[in-house]
Structures are given as C-alpha cells and as structure tokens.
C-alpha cells in the first residue's frame, strides 16, 4: 500500500498519467457498454429497412413503392431501360401487332457478341490453326460444342428475325412519314446482318465455308467496271490482281489473307459499324414518336390532300 508519508509524493497533486489513462479507459469501457448496444440496435433497425441506407439510396435514386411516379422513374433513371418511354400506347404491348422481332434481333446480337467473344479465346485466324481450333472447340473445350452451336444458330435466327421484323414494319406501313429515314437505317442493318453472317461462314475453314465464300466472292469478279470479268472491267484495266475481288480477299484466291480479312470484318469491323447504325436506329425510333402503333385507322374520306 502507498506510504502517505513518502516525501517524494506531493499531496493534493493532480492525478498522474497512469491515473488519467486508467480513468480514460474506464470511461471508454463504460461508453462501449452503453453505446454499443444502442448502436447495434440502431444498425439492426436499419437492416430491417435496407432501402434507407446510404449505399442503397446512392445506387437506386428513387423509391420503389408502387406509385405512377416510381414506375416511370424505374424506366427513366435506368441507363439500360431509358430508351423506352415511361408510358406507351396500351395496345403496343400486344404481341400480335409488334411480333417483337426488332427486340429479338437485338437480343440475338447480344447473344452473338457474348458467345463470339468466348469463341475468340480459342480461335486463331490462320490457315494452320483455324480448322484445328474448331475441332478443339468441339471435342476438348468445356462446353465448346454448345458454344459454337449457339453462335451458329443464333446467327441464323438473327437473319430470320431481321427479315420478319422488316416484313412486319412493311405490313403496318410503319415506314411512312416521319419514319422514312429510320426505314433506310434498317435496310442498312439488314445488309450488315447478312454480311456479318456471311463473313463468319468462312472462319471454320472447312469445305462448306470455303466453297460458299468462293462462290460468293466469284460474283465480285463480275462487278461492272470494277471486276476483271465484269462488263467494261477489261476496259478499265482490271485483272485478277487488282479488281474488287482482290480487295475483298486480299489475294486472287480464298486463302490465308481472306481468312484474316473475314475474321477482322466479322469480329471488329462490321460489329462496330452495325452498333453505330443500331444506336441511330433505336434513337430514331424514340425521336420519330415511338413505335408506330397500333394507331387509329384513317379513313379515305378524311385524307386532306396537300396543296401543290
């Protein structure tokens, strides 16, 4: 026990460092004892309603109770959905009118981009490797066969969907004013879809693709003015080594250069061009007043002829 008469100790002195620490720690412990349960209780309360947390509100910028405002915001404040308007004509959700082929085409484009990118990990666009890579994909790569099958069939399905989309747009007269320009963008997208599919045909480097592309590009020989077998081609100085077919194939026969060229067009060139046209296509759908209908029928007797 401390000696009260210790001369070295001054009585009535302020508590020393040790005491200060001791009381401080005691206070800290006291506060933990009271504050911790309180804060834990508070946290538990917020867990019960996570939508009120800062993290949540920073991600989702509006509430989700079922009010018209929130339904609209759910579409408008989402970057992936905001191409849609908040509200549409009650009949345009009917499948029998739209057939949904435009959306399906775009979805297939996404599927193709995804499966195509995975395929690119296993594929070398060279004469030595290409065919072996496809064999490797089919027999050794986990899920390689279904990956390739899916890419192939999605491509065919996309061609079908594009054609049906165009058919529907024609039958409903949806290319009419003010949508003339967007119809033209659509026609270009149709051509790009066919080109995408066609450039992919050569890539397995098998007999099927080789001869299909040989037959296809042989027609380019006959291009008027620009092909060496076409009308006036010879007069323009065209030979098999400088005509338009040579430019397409990077050679006078379908060989290594043609494989590389079709690979680059297929994986980089056309997808980028097509994406640009798609951006315009979707944007114009909105700007031209959303999807065309189903509109109210017009009567012949009510048409006001434009004055000339």
């Amino acid at each position: 026990m401390p000696d009260d008469t210790n001369p070295n100790e001054k009585k009535g002195k302020a508590p020393g460092l040790v005491d200060a620490i001791r009381t401080g720690v005691r206070e800290d412990l006291e506060s933990l004892k009271t504050d911790l349960p309180a804060k834990a209780k508070e946290s538990l309360e917020t867990l019960k309603s996570p939508t009120k947390t800062q993290v949540y509100t920073s991600i989702f910028r509006h509430k989700h109770d079922d009010t018209p405002r929130n339904r609209a915001l759910g579409v408008l404040s989402n970057v992936f959905l905001h191409l849609h308007p908040a509200k549409i004509n009650r009949d345009s959700v009917r499948y029998s009118y739209t057939w949904g082929m435009g959306g399906i085409t775009f979805y297939l484009f996404l599927v193709l981009t995804f499966t195509g990118t995975l395929l690119m990990f296993y594929y070398h666009p060279s004469k030595v490797q290409a065919f072996r890579d496809v064999l490797y994909l089919e027999h050794d790569v986990p899920f390689g066969r279904i990956l390739r099958n899916m890419h192939r069939w999605a491509a065919h399905l996309m061609v079908i969907a594009v054609e049906l989309h165009m058919f529907r747009v024609f039958l409903t007269g949806s290319y009419k004013k003010p949508r003339e320009f967007n119809w033209n963008v659509g026609v270009i997208l149709l051509v790009l879809t066919l080109l995408l599919s066609f450039t992919g045909y050569l890539l397995p480097d098998d007999q099927l693709g080789f001869w299909a592309v040989t037959v296809g590009t042989n027609m380019a020989r006959a291009t008027p003015l620009l092909g060496h077998e076409g009308p006036f081609g010879a007069q323009m100085g065209m030979t098999p080594y400088n005509d338009v077919r040579f430019g397409l194939l990077g050679g006078s026969i379908v060989d290594a250069n043609a494989l590389l060229r079709s690979y680059i067009w297929h994986c980089i060139g056309i997808p980028i061009i097509a994406s640009l046209f798609m951006v315009v296509h979707f944007w114009r759908v909105r700007k031209d007043g959303g999807i065309s209908g189903p509109a109210q029928v017009n009567l012949d007797s009510e048409v006001k002829e434009a004055r000339k």
């Binding site: 018209p68 549409i88 399905l157 061609v159 006959a222 029928v297 012949d300």
Partner: protein, 309 residues
C-alpha cells in the same frame, strides 16, 4: 420416292433455318391477315357511318371509356421483353443441344464441293445465276434490291395504313411487297435449298441426286431465233427488245396504276412515279426472264461484246 435423300436435305443443319422460316412466315402472314381483316371491316363501318366515325376509338380491339390510353412501360412492356428474351434463350439452348453446327472436311481448293451452295439466305441470288450472268445476279440485282427497299418510303405516297394492318387501303403496296418477298426472295431460296442438286440441276423433292446426270439442254439466244447473225445487229436488236420491254411494261403498268390507284397516282411527282415504274418493271423482268429460260430455252436476249443480258 427417295425418302432418305429428302430427309438428308431437310435435316442438313444449315437448311434447318429455311425449314423453320416457312412455317414462321405462314403463321405471321395469318396473324397479319387476321388483323388486317378486322381493321378493314372497321374501316368499312366507319366510312358508311360518319357519326360513328366521330365517336369511335378506331381500333379493332376493344376499348371502354375510363380505360387509360397509355400504360406504364414498367411492368407492362418490360415483362413482354423479358419473356421474349427467356423464350429465345430456351429455343437457342434446345436447338444448340440437339443439333450440331456443320463442320465438313478441312478446306481443300482441289476438291470442289458439288453442289457448292452459299448460305441459305443467299441461295435466291445463287439461283438467279441460272437465269442471268453473274454481274446481274451477283452485283446488279442485290444493289437494286437494297436501293429498291430504300426508296419505298419515298415513293409510297399513300397516307393511309400507317401504324395498323390493312389490306384494302394498300392493295398495291402490300401486293408488290408480298410478290417481291414471298414469291421472289423466299421461294427462290426454297428452290435453291430443296430442288437444286449436283451441277445445280433440278431434282424434285424425293428424287435421288444423280451425280452423273447430264442434261442436254439446247439453249438459244433470242437473236438466233430471228436469224440475226452480225454482232452489230445483235446488239441493236437486244437493246430494242430490252428497251421495248421497259416501254411496253411501263405503259401497261401506267394504264393499270392510274385506273386502279387514281389517288396515289395523282399524289405522286414525276420523279416518284418514274422510280416506281423502273423498279417495278425490273422486278417483273425477273420472272419473265425465268419463264423465257425454263419454257423456251432462251439464254440471252441482248448480246454485246461487253455484256449479255
């Protein structure tokens, strides 16, 4: 009847899309036709009863007072899109599990495939090669198809039928498109896929592909039938026939169009009208050339030192 041959053609993996397209087209044409019929009926009623036309909501679908004209995209449209994506994914999955993408022998320039066919969507153009030289079938035709599609909105001056299915208000436009799409594009693809065999010869469905079959066809050129021999007169004769086809065809279409489509005829400018005639008559020229070839064994109509038509 060679069922095995037929099955081999129909079940060839790359032919499955065209096998699928045909029933899909039948279904969607039915769907469109049903709605067009309902709308045409409604239009007829409204034309007959102007008082009703003022109050009617003008759709063949039911509408009750108090119903809102618009619905929220979330959830009413998005759920349809979501369902469509799921259904397409399921179809693709099943298709990819059950049917393998084709892979033939490695490419071999020394071993020609017979028949060497393009992908199914280009078989219509390949079929055209029978009737036209490659510069027309492979270059001019596709270009004309693309430009023909692109001018459609600018030459179709009919203000009716925008945004709903109808037949009676747009007989000419829809008839022409159906002719171009179904009769020319799809059926040519069908012929290229199912009928053409080795050597691009005609084999009826179920007929065995005979790789050694030879057909001795004697195809003549039109000038030969008239005993024209010199190059100059052949060229002039051909130009006259082709030009005559366009002039006579143009007059014929003009006579019909202004009679049966007077309002649209009145609305069109000279430029619009001439573009319409050029594309329309060129399109009609296609089956006519096919007929000349198949029925009369005529190869060329117009022969010049530089090109043949």
């Amino acid at each position: 009847m060679d069922w095995r041959q037929l099955w081999e053609i129909i079940s060839a993996p790359d032919n499955v899309p065209i096998v699928a397209l045909i029933p899909l087209l039948v279904f969607y044409i039915y769907l469109a036709w049903r709605q067009a019929k309902a709308n045409d009926l409604l239009i007829e009623q409204l034309e007959a009863d102007p008082a009703l036309a003022k109050t009617h909501h003008r759709k063949a679908w039911p509408f009750k007072p108090g119903w809102s004209k618009e619905v929220h995209v979330w959830p009413f449209l998005l759920r349809v899109e979501f369902l469509a994506a799921i259904i397409v994914t399921i179809i693709l999955m099943i298709w990819s599990i059950t049917l393998n993408a084709p892979l033939e022998e490695p490419a071999n320039p020394n071993l020609t495939m017979n028949p060497a066919k393009a992908p199914w969507y280009f078989l219509g153009l390949q079929e055209m090669l029978v009737y036209f030289d490659p510069w027309i079938a492979g270059v001019v035709m596709p270009t004309l198809i693309i430009f023909g599609l692109m001018v459609i909105p600018y030459i179709d001056t009919n203000p009716l039928g925008a945004g709903y299915y109808t037949w009676k208000q747009r007989k000419f436009a829809i008839g022409t498109f159906l002719f171009g799409f179904i009769i020319l594009w799809v059926s040519m693809i069908t012929i290229g896929t199912f009928i053409r065999g080795p050597g691009w010869q005609w084999f009826w469905p179920g007929q065995t592909w005979d790789h050694n079959r030879l057909i001795y066809e004697v195809n003549r050129d039109l000038p030969d039938l008239f005993g024209i021999t010199s190059n100059w007169s052949k060229g002039i004769f051909g130009a006259a026939v082709v030009g005559g086809f366009f002039v006579v065809g143009g007059l014929l279409v003009h006579a019909l169009f202004r009679r049966y489509n007077p309002k649209n005829y009145k609305r069109m400018s000279l430029l619009q009208y001439s573009i319409l005639l050029v594309f329309f008559i060129t399109m009609i020229g296609l089956p006519i050339k096919m007929l000349l070839r198949l029925a009369f064994h005529i190869k060329y109509v117009w022969i010049t030192p530089w090109f043949n038509v």
